[in-house]
Symmetry: C2
Subunit: 230 residues, 2 copies
């Protein structure tokens, strides 16, 4: 709806890929709805995935022994995080909805996106124990994981060799987003697009655009072990 | 034992950290046993986590539309992967045991280590469908995930808010290592070292060195859903 803000964190090298098209479809559909949409195109930005001393501007809190979590927390307080992190945090802060768009790499997100999680979701900004899970600092926001797989839907079912696809969503949805207080919408999964026809891939794109039309009426999932492992 | 080869893939920024000490303890103890130990110190190497066109030397298989998985597979066949990947693959090929040593970041490994998985474990080298899981191309090797956590052991139990620690091992142990045919030893977990005494941390180090003494007699876990979600 008018005025809602969406941040799409997008990790694919190729604009012509299905992931690229899914991202474009979201920009278009959400734009039509009057949402304001921002895209963090991680590969195009050459986003840095490594959590290092470079993320802290100026002096360290403890220069004897480098502890990334502590240093990032203290730098956040002082306003001394590197510019790229401040920029991403501003986008997150303003967003009502975060959409993560990526190809599944090894039962998880690509390293470049994991680096976004590692570096942007700093203590004090996204969480501050015991302010986590339902009282995480990013509460009142929504997240949605939208991804493509190599394996087929059949391979990702309970009892099948790769297990229920929900098993691998636990670290991403619960361990990251829910930990920060973000409510999680059902994932959007395009299974094995490389092994289906061009027509099928078009249907996948349409289904995503279709879902987005009614997205703001969706209820978040119940992000507890039952949803994942029942 | 004499002649066994171990590769430690290590991801911590600070040599003086507990992770650094755990890595050093493994180098020392395994060395004493007559093993040949190699360390990939990812931060020191400034290891590249991003999967990009730079990983492919020379021309692309399909320059119209970049597909990382396809390009890496074809480049591997031609011997045209970038030098850093060839180097890591050589280390993996020679190793009997892979030890991953890292601090848990967001229910998973740090991005720099995820990038190692994304880029090194190329199709044709580590797996080639249907040669995966028990017939993965890295069969006859062992892997062990050794990591530290921020949260306490109590937080990572079934029924507790962060769930059983085994839930988050599924993507790493099963989705990556088992997929490549690698047999997985029980993980080694140091819970919340930042919140315990110096003496407790020393005990953690000793316990690790102690475990390594009898490591080669250990049986791999049964890396199936039952182990993780029973």
């Amino acid at each position: 709806p008018l005025g809602r803000k969406v941040l799409i964190i997008y990790a694919h090298q190729e604009p012509k890929s299905l992931n690229g098209s899914l991202k474009d479809a979201a920009v278009e559909e959400l734009g039509k709805q009057g949402c304001s949409v921002t895209v963090s195109d991680l590969y195009a930005m050459q986003f840095e995935p490594r959590a290092t001393r470079n993320d802290i501007v100026g002096c360290l809190h403890n220069s004897e022994e480098f502890n990334y979590g502590v240093e990032a927390r203290e730098a956040y307080k002082r306003g001394d995080l590197s510019d790229d992190l401040i920029e991403e945090q501003k986008k997150v802060q303003e967003a009502d909805l975060l959409i993560f768009q990526f190809p599944l790499y090894w039962f998880s997100m690509p390293a470049i996106m994991k680096g976004w999680m590692d570096r942007v979701l700093v203590e004090g900004f996204a969480h501050k124990f015991p302010d986590c899970y339902s009282s995480g600092l990013l509460k009142n926001k929504l997240a949605l994981f939208s991804f493509t797989t190599g394996g087929s839907k059949e391979m990702y079912t309970k009892g099948s060799i790769s297990g229920d696809i929900r098993y691998l969503l636990w670290p991403m949805q619960h361990g990251i987003m829910h930990y920060c207080g973000v409510k999680v919408l059902a994932p959007h999964i395009c299974f094995a697009p490389e092994y289906v026809s061009e027509e099928k891939r078009k249907e996948m794109l349409l289904a995503w655009a279709q879902r987005l039309k009614a997205l703001w009426k969706e209820e978040p999932i119940n992000c507890s072990p039952e949803w994942y492992f029942k």
